[in-house]
Every structure is written in C-alpha cells, then in structure tokens.
C-alpha cells in the first residue's frame, strides 16, 4: 500500500546525511565529551562543532546554545529558569492560550506555586495581540512567553514585534520555535528573543536532542542539578550522536529554507484549495497567510477526528488531529477552542503537515482518498443530514441544542 506521511508536526524522519554523520559516534567515537583523554577529546570537538552549526542557523553565538534532550525540556528550562531566577524582580509571566502543552503546563504549575500568570486570549486565527501583551505588562512582569509558530494551526505570532516590546519594557522574552525552525526564518536578533527553544526531531534531526538559546547576560537558572556539563547550564552526559545529528540538520534546515518554503507552500496550497473547494461545512483553521508553509489544518463539521484518522490510516495516509502529544486525550484541542471554534467542530479537526520528502503524488493520493471517507462518516453522523446543512447556516447549533 502507498504510505503517505503527513504528520511532520509530530516528528520527522531522520535525514540520511545526519544519520551518516551520527553513525561513528555510537560505537567508534563513543567517549564522554567531559573526558580528558583521547576518547573524550575528539567527541568534545564534534559537540562544539555541532553547537556552532545550531548557533549559526539561528544567528546566535555558540556559547549561547545549551543542548537539551528535546523541545519539552528546553521550554521547561526556559520558563522555570527565568521564573525562579528573577523572583527579586517579580513573579508575573505573560503567555497565551494556544501555546504547546509544555509551555502551558509549565506556566500552570508556576501559577500553582504562587506565580502570577496571564494567559492571553487569541483571535479566531489563533493570533495573540501585541497590544494585549503591552497592556498586561506590570513592573512585576519577568517573562513574556509566546511561541513562534503554532504546531496545530500553523499561525505565526508577531514575534519580532513582541521582541521589540519586551526589550523596550525590560522584560525577558522566550519563544518556542520547535515547529517554526526549519519552516520559516528564525534569527534570534530579528525575533528579539532572550530565550528560544528548538527540537531536533522536528527538523529531520534525531529524537533526543534539543537546544535552548540563552542570550548572553540573561538571568536564569538551570533545571537539572549535577555535573558541570554545558557550562553548568545542563547537567548530564551529553547525547553526543543526537547532538551531532542536530548540528547537521540545523545547518541543512537553514541552507535549504528558501527552497523548502517554496516547495511546501505549493503542495500545501493545493491541499487547502482542493479540500476547501470540495467540501461544505468545513473551515480552514489558523491564519490564511501568516502560517507555516507546510501545514494545512481543517475542521470538518459533523464528524470526529479520530475516525477520519483511522480511515486515512487504513488508506496509508498518516495525519493528525490536534497535537500528537495529546492525541491520547479526549478533550478537544485547546488551540482550536481558544480560537472560538465550538467543541463539537473542534472534534472534527484534521491536521496535515508536509515534509520535504512529500510529493505532488502524495497530495493527489490524499485528495483522492479523502472524499469517500468524509462522505461515509457524515452519512453515519446523527449530527446533521449534511445535504440539509448546505442551506441551514446554524445547523450545528440547532443540532447541538436539541
């Protein structure tokens, strides 16, 4: 059966060039980079080269890069580390409703510990308002935490404006760039961030590596206590092969960005155009223009996401409905409901995230298998006879009210 992977927001296949560079670091150059001897020294050098590559890809100084185990750790480290280290200045954090769970839940945990957290709303595109942020800042505010691009709807936040605001007001700014890096330009100075989180496995790198960009002079404290690795900022033996692979793919991501944007935008727009054209009672979620080039996201009314995914999977198409991390949950996506989408519609979300290996044929195949699935599920749905709904504007509401 044809297999089409449209779930690059969840994870990506490892780039073969990166796999090749990683290979010798498992069994041959296996040393601990902290070790003093021959086996450690070469490895230390390779880790530092990877650091330079990651730094280079986002316009940072290598000393500002801290390697972590992934995006979740980076984000936890960023938020918790700023909050704990700046308690003398204040205890207020500003974030927004559509952040990834690793941001949201870290903020919620801080709120439980007595920190004040403002969870700003977003508009119907999932966009936060810079004015709202400006209005929320108090002299107790220590951190603005707004992601770069949303992983479920692709909406790109006005990060550069937020960065400017943060600098003006003397507040630290962290942005979760796990799903924007490699898809749109990410430069720490252009974005004006003090901290930025990256995850290797979202950019064709290996699982098990991520980075926290930590601008020089940032008052921050580590999450892990232990050895002196990563210049005292992240204890624990470095995951050398993963770091090497991350370095390689960060370099590739930066070099190939322009081509990637053009190529994926083409495929994505075809999907959006065809799907929206083909079905009624469907909406595109996220911002129509300010979105990551590889992401097409929809809500199909009257049907439920999991059953769409199951049918697609039986046809060989791997897609997602909300964040992969939370696909085990039964709650409708917090991102979609924060955008004002009613829960019964949010349940019908379908998320397609493309990658560099996808082809026009993949797209055509998907576009061929999707319609019968939607029709079948809608036929089975008690929510509405959809041939009626075409005329009844408030169909959902009335059904829901019944």
């Amino acid at each position: 059966m044809r297999r089409v992977y449209f779930d690059h927001s969840s994870t990506t296949p490892l780039d073969p060039a990166a796999a090749g560079e990683m290979a010798p670091y498992f069994t041959e150059f296996f040393g601990n980079p902290s070790s003093f001897h021959y086996f450690g020294r070469g490895v230390r050098k390779a880790v530092e080269e990877a650091r330079e590559k990651v730094a280079g890809a986002i316009g940072a100084d290598p000393r500002e890069i801290v390697f972590t185990s992934g995006g979740t750790e980076s984000v936890n480290m960023a938020i918790e580390g700023i909050a704990q280290a700046n308690q003398k200045k204040g205890n207020h954090i500003i974030t927004c409703a559509v952040e990834h769970h690793c941001s949201l839940n870290t903020c919620k945990s801080l709120a439980k510990k007595g920190f004040e957290v403002t969870f700003l709303p977003v508009d119907s595109y999932g966009m936060v308002s810079v004015d709202d942020i400006a209005a929320a800042i108090t002299d107790r505010t220590v951190l603005i935490n707004i992601m770069h691009a949303n992983n479920e709807v692709g909406t790109i936040q006005p990060v550069a404006e937020i960065g400017r605001l943060a600098r003006e007001r003397g507040v630290y700014f962290h942005s979760d760039a796990c799903t924007s890096f490699g898809r749109v330009p990410v430069n720490v100075d252009d974005l004006g961030v003090n901290l930025l989180s990256l995850s290797a496995h979202k950019i064709y790198g290996p699982k098990g590596a991520g980075a926290l960009y930590l601008r020089k002079g940032t008052r921050w404290q580590p999450l892990f206590h232990g050895g002196a690795q990563e210049r005292m900022r992240r204890s624990g033996t470095e995951n050398v092969p993963a770091i090497i692979g991350f370095g390689k793919t960060a370099e590739l991501a930066a070099a190939g960005l322009e081509h990637e944007i053009t190529y994926l935008t083409g495929l994505r727009d075809k999907i959006i155009r065809e799907v929206i054209g083909r079905f009624d009672n469907i909406r595109l979620t996220g911002h129509p223009e300010k979105r990551t080039p590889n992401l097409a996201s929809f809500c199909f009314e009257f049907i439920e996401g999991e059953s769409m995914l199951l049918h697609l999977d039986m046809q060989g198409v791997a897609a997602s409905s909300g964040s992969a991390c939370t696909s085990g949950s039964l709650e409708p996506s917090h991102v979609l409901t924060s955008m004002g989408i009613p829960p019964e519609v949010a349940h019908g979300s379908l998320l397609l995230t493309l990658g560099k290996n996808n082809t026009e044929e993949d797209v055509d195949y998907f576009l061929a298998v999707l319609p019968p699935i939607i029709e079948r599920l809608r036929d089975m749905s008690p929510l509405c006879h959809y041939d009626h709904c075409e005329v009844e504007e408030d169909c959902i509401t009335c059904t829901a009210r019944k």
């Binding site: 009257f302 049907i303 439920e304 996401g305 999991e306 059953s307 199951l310 049918h311 039986m314 085990g328 039964l330 409708p332 829960p343 019964e344 349940h347 036929d379 089975m380 749905s381 008690p382 929510l383 959902i396 059904t399 829901a400």
Partner: protein, 123 residues
C-alpha cells in the same frame, strides 16, 4: 490500539442508518465530548425486529454502536436489556482503557431506545 474486531466493526459497520417509523429512539452523549450515538428500533411481538444507528464519534463509538445492533437484532426486549456496555466491549475483544468510559455508550443508547419504545407503548 484497537482490536481486530473493533477495526472490523469500525470499517464495516453493521446496521448504519435511520428507521423513519421507529418504535423507539435512544440518544446518548453530546457533541462537546465528541460522541453522540442514536439508536432506532423496530419492535415486533416483544422482539427487536430491526435496529439501526447513527453515530458521531471515534472508532470505539462507531464500533460499539455497530456491535450492539448486531448483538440485539432478533433478541427479545428483555434479553436486550441484559446487554451492558461491558458486554459490548467484551464482544469486541476489549477496548483501550481510555475509551471504556467515554465512547462505550452504545448499550445505554439501546436502553434509552427501549425506554422510549415502552413510554410510547404506555400511551
């Protein structure tokens, strides 16, 4: 994650549809939770002569709906009332634990349909 039986009933659900002149209709769930099951029954001489369902929901919701219709078709009302959500899940070789509570409501919908039938009969 799902058993083969679940996947069979999900991909080839039995008795999908509505019965326009149903003797009883039962509905459970709500769209906010992501599951609605609606069951239509036709009763003849105390026996469930025909049964159909419409379901909005996940794989488990669709499979349990389909399974419950198979289980009770041709059964007496009393026999049908003995069928619980647990019976349905077992007939499907089990469900993932997360789905046991939320999407395993088909028997409830059936019981509601029977209740509806009885209420109508009383009148």
């Amino acid at each position: 994650m799902y058993s083969e039986k679940v996947m069979d009933h999900f991909s080839n659900p039995r008795n999908v549809g509505e019965i326009p002149d149903a003797d009883g209709i039962g509905e459970v769930g709500n769209p906010t939770c992501g599951d609605i099951m609606k069951i239509f029954i036709k009763v003849k001489d105390g026996v469930i002569d025909d049964i159909k369902f419409k379901t909005f929901g996940c794989g488990a919701a669709i499979a349990t709906s389909s399974m419950v219709t198979e289980l009770v078709k041709g059964k007496t009302i009393d026999e049908a009332l003995k069928i619980s959500n647990k019976t349905v899940a077992e007939a499907l070789d089990g469900l993932p634990s997360k789905k046991m509570h939320c999407s395993n409501l088909a028997a409830d919908a059936l019981h509601k349909a029977i209740e509806d039938y009885r209420n109508r009969s009383k009148k």
